[in-house]
C-alpha cells in the first residue's frame, strides 16, 4: 500500500469514528424509545430487546403532539423568513457599501452571541409581559429572529462578498436600481448560500429550548417544550422521554437529511471554485 492510500484509509477511519461518536446519543435515544421503562434503566444496558411502542402510545395519549409540532414549524420558519428579510438588506450594505466600521459592526453583532441568554431573560420577560407577547408564536418568532440574526447576517455577508462587483455594476449600467439589482442579480446568484443560511436558521430555531421554555406555557409551546413536559416531577421515565425526544427531532432530522446536499453546497459555497 502506498503512503497516500494509507493516509486516505486513516482519514476515512477517523471520519467514521467521529461520525459514530456524534451520532451515538441519537441512536441510543431512538433505541431507548422502543424499550420498556424497566429495560431502559437496566444495567448493563441491553442492545437487543423486544421493541415496544408502549412509550410512544403513552406520549401520544398524554400530549397533543401535532399542536406542538405545528408551533415548531410556524415559529422556526417564521423566524427564519423574518431574519432573512432583515439580514439581506443589512448584508447587502455591508458587502457592497462598506464603511470603516463595517468589520467592527459585524464582530460586535457576533459578540452578542457570547452573552448568556439568561442574562437578558428578566428584561425580555418583562417586555413580553407588558406587550402581551408571552406564550405567543409572534413572540418566539421575534426572539428567534434576533437570536439568529448575527449568524444569518454574517453568512449572507460572506456569500455576497463572493459576488464579483462587476456584475452588479453591469446591472447598474443596464438600468437596475438597488431593488432590481438585489432581486434579479444578487438573490439568484447567491441562492445556494441563502438557502443554506435559511436551513441553518430553521434548525437552530427548532432546537432552541431556553426561550421557548421560559416564554411559553401551552398555546405557543414548540416541541422543545413538549420534550421538557416529560421530565416530570415524579421522576424521569427514560423510555417515554426518549420516545418524546425522538418524535420532536424526527421532523428536523428528516428535513436535514433531505436538504443535506443543499446545506453542504451552501456552506462550502465560494470556498471551492
Amino acid at each position: 500500500m502506498n503512503p497516500s492510500m494509507t493516509k486516505k484509509l486513516l482519514l476515512t477511519l477517523l471520519a467514521w469514528g467521529i461520525a459514530l461518536i456524534v451520532f451515538f446519543p441519537i441512536f441510543w435515544m431512538v433505541l431507548t424509545g422502543f424499550k420498556t421503562e424497566g429495560e431502559a434503566v437496566a444495567t448493563p444496558p441491553s442492545l437487543f430487546f423486544e421493541p415496544t411502542l408502549a412509550g410512544y402510545n403513552t406520549v401520544m395519549a398524554r400530549a397533543d403532539y401535532l399542536k406542538f409540532a405545528l408551533n415548531s414549524i410556524v415559529i422556526s420558519f417564521g423566524s427564519t423568513l423574518l431574519a432573512l428579510l432583515v439580514a439581506i438588506p443589512a448584508a447587502y450594505s455591508m458587502a457592497f457599501l462598506p464603511t470603516k466600521r463595517t468589520r467592527g459592526t459585524l464582530l460586535w453583532m457576533l459578540s452578542t452571541k457570547m452573552l448568556p441568554p439568561v442574562g437578558v431573560l428578566m428584561p425580555v420577560y418583562l417586555l413580553f409581559r407588558d406587550m402581551g407577547l408571552l406564550d405567543s408564536q409572534l413572540g418566539l418568532i421575534v426572539v428567534y429572529m434576533l437570536m439568529n440574526l448575527p449568524i444569518v447576517v454574517w453568512m449572507l455577508y460572506t456569500f455576497f462578498k463572493d459576488i464579483p462587483k462587476d456584475i452588479l455594476e453591469a446591472g447598474r449600467m443596464d438600468g437596475a436600481g438597488t431593488l432590481q439589482e438585489v432581486l434579479y442579480l444578487l438573490l439568484p446568484l447567491t441562492l445556494p448560500g441563502i438557502a443554506s443560511t435559511g436551513l441553518l436558521s430553521v434548525i437552530l430555531s427548532w432546537n432552541e429550548a431556553f426561550w421557548s421554555l421560559n416564554l411559553t406555557t401551552s398555546d405557543a409551546a414548540p416541541l422543545t417544550a413538549f420534550i421538557a413536559s416529560f421530565s416530570s416531577p415524579e421522576g424521569l421515565f427514560w423510555a417515554k422521554l426518549s420516545a418524546a425526544s425522538t418524535l420532536a427531532i424526527a421532523p428536523i432530522l428528516i428535513f436535514g437529511w433531505m436538504t443535506q446536499k443543499q446545506m453542504v453546497r451552501g456552506l462550502t459555497f465560494g470556498a471551492v471554485k
Binding site: P164, D166, I167, E169, A170, M173, D174, G175, Q180, L189
Partner: protein, 380 residues
C-alpha cells in the same frame, strides 16, 4: 450624436488624488483610447464617465449637458467590462436583453433588438446558452452585444481584450475596429496595450499618475511626443535615451556632441545654450548599422524575430536597443558602429519636456478612415 467634455475632473479617494484635473474633449464618433501604466488612473477616469465612481470636482458633460449627478443608467452609456461581467444565471439572450427588460420593453420588441445585435456579432446560434458554456471570445462578444442592445450614445470599453489569448486578441481588435465603423458610434477605450491604442484610436490620451501627459493622434504621439514619458511609453521596443552636451543652438536646430562627432537635430533651440545637458532620444527602429556611424556599441543580446532583429548594445554606461533587419549576421560580443537620421531624433530638456520639431511629420493628421476599408457589412 454624442460628444463628451471633461472639465478639470478631480477624483479624491480619502485624501489621495488619483485624478488630478483632467480636461478632455471627445468628438462625435471618435474612437478615443486611454492608455498608461497600471495605476495611472485610466480605469478610474472611465468609471467616472460611466457614473460608477463619483466625481470630486469638475464637470462631465455629454452633448453639453452636465451629467455629474445623473445615475449611470440614465447617462445613456454602455460599458464593456474587463471581466465581461455577464450575468451567470441568464442565457445569452437574457443577458443581452436585460436592460430592455428593466426598461419594460415588450418581449417581442426585446427579442427583435437582441437578434439584431446578435446578427452583427454572429451570436445567433448561442442565444440559449449560459455564459459558462461559452468560450472567452464568445463571452466577450456577448458583453459587446449587451452594450449594443442599449443603443448607447457612447460605448465604454474597460480593457476588454486583456483576458483573451494573443491570437484572439488580434482578431477581436480588428472586429472592434470594424464594429466602430459599422455602428458609427463614439467609443472610449481603456487599455495598457499600446498596440491596441495605436491601431484603433483616432485620439490617444496618455495618462500617468492621474495627469494627462499628452492627447493626440497615434502618429502624433509617435513622431511628436511632448515629453520624455510619452516618448518612452509609445513605441516598442522603448526609445533609447542618452544624455548629451549642447554645442550650439538656434531657432533652426540644436548642435549636440556625440562620441563620433557632432550632429544637428532640427528642433527649435529655445533657451538651450552651449554647455547645457539635454537628453537625446532615438527610437530603436531609427538607428541603423553603419560602419562609419558616430556611435558604437558591443552586442550583449540578439533577439531574432525573423522579419526584424533586435540588438541590445552596451557602450560604457549607456545601453542601446537597435532594430535591424532580419538577416543581420552579427554575433554576441561583436563591436558595431551605428548612426541615425537627425531628423528622427528628439531632444528633451531636464524637466522632460521635448524641444519642438521644426517639421511636422506628414502622417500626423492622417484620418482613421484612410487606414481602414469600409466595414464588412457596408461592403456586402
Amino acid at each position: 450624436m454624442a460628444t463628451l467634455q471633461l472639465n478639470n475632473i478631480v477624483k479624491d479617494f480619502g485624501g489621495t488624488q488619483v485624478i488630478k484635473g483632467v480636461d478632455l474633449e471627445v468628438k462625435d464618433r471618435e474612437f478615443v483610447v486611454f492608455v498608461g501604466p497600471s495605476g495611472c488612473g485610466k480605469s478610474t477616469l472611465m468609471r467616472m464617465i460611466a457614473g460608477l465612481e463619483s466625481t470630486t470636482s469638475g464637470d462631465i458633460s455629454i452633448d453639453g449637458q452636465r451629467i455629474n449627478d445623473v445615475g449611470p443608467a440614465d447617462r445613456g452609456l454602455a460599458m464593456v467590462f474587463q471581466s465581461y461581467a455577464l450575468y451567470p444565471h441568464m442565457s445569452v439572450e437574457d443577458n443581452m436583453g436585460f436592460s430592455l427588460r428593466l426598461a419594460k420593453v415588450p418581449r417581442a420588441e426585446r427579442r427583435e433588438k437582441v437578434l439584431a445585435a446578435a446578427r452583427i456579432l454572429q451570436l445567433e446560434e448561442l442565444l440559449d446558452r449560459k455564459p459558462r458554456a461559452l468560450s472567452g471570445g464568445q463571452r466577450q462578444r456577448v458583453a459587446i452585444g449587451r452594450a449594443i442592445v442599449r443603443n448607447p450614445s457612447i460605448f465604454l470599453f474597460d480593457e476588454p481584450l486583456s483576458n483573451l489569448d494573443a491570437a484572439l486578441r488580434v482578431q477581436m481588435r480588428i472586429e472592434l475596429a470594424r464594429l466602430h465603423e459599422e455602428l458609427d458610434a463614439t467609443m472610449i477605450y481603456v487599455t495598457h496595450d499600446q498596440i491596441e491604442a495605436m491601431t484603433m484610436a483616432d485620439k490617444i490620451v496618455v495618462l500617468q499618475g492621474g495627469v494627462v501627459e499628452q492627447i493626440g493622434s497615434p502618429m502624433e504621439l509617435y513622431h511628436h511626443p511632448r515629453n520624455r514619458f510619452v516618448a518612452g511609453f509609445i513605441g516598442s521596443p522603448k526609445m533609447n535615451f542618452l544624455d548629451i552636451e549642447v554645442r550650439g543652438a538656434d531657432a533652426e536646430g540644436v548642435d549636440v556632441a556625440l562620441p563620433g562627432g557632432d550632429c544637428r537635430v532640427p528642433v527649435e533651440g529655445g533657451d538651450a545654450k552651449p554647455g547645457d545637458t539635454l537628453t537625446l532620444g532615438i527610437r530603436p527602429e531609427h538607428l541603423k548599422l553603419d560602419d562609419r556611424g558616430p556611435l558604437t556599441g558591443r552586442i550583449v543580446v540578439i533577439e531574432r524575430l525573423g522579419g526584424v532583429t533586435s540588438l541590445y548594445l552596451e557602450h560604457g554606461d549607456s545601453e542601446w536597443i537597435l532594430v535591424a533587419d532580419g538577416d543581420v549576421a552579427h554575433r554576441v560580443h561583436d563591436e558595431v558602429r551605428f548612426s541615425f537620421d537627425p531628423a528622427c531624433a528628439h531632444l528633451f530638456k531636464g524637466d522632460g519636456t521635448a524641444l519642438v520639431h521644426r517639421h511636422r511629420h506628414p502622417l500626423v493628421d492622417i484620418d482613421r478612415k484612410e487606414n481602414r476599408a469600409p466595414s464588412a457589412s457596408e461592403g456586402r
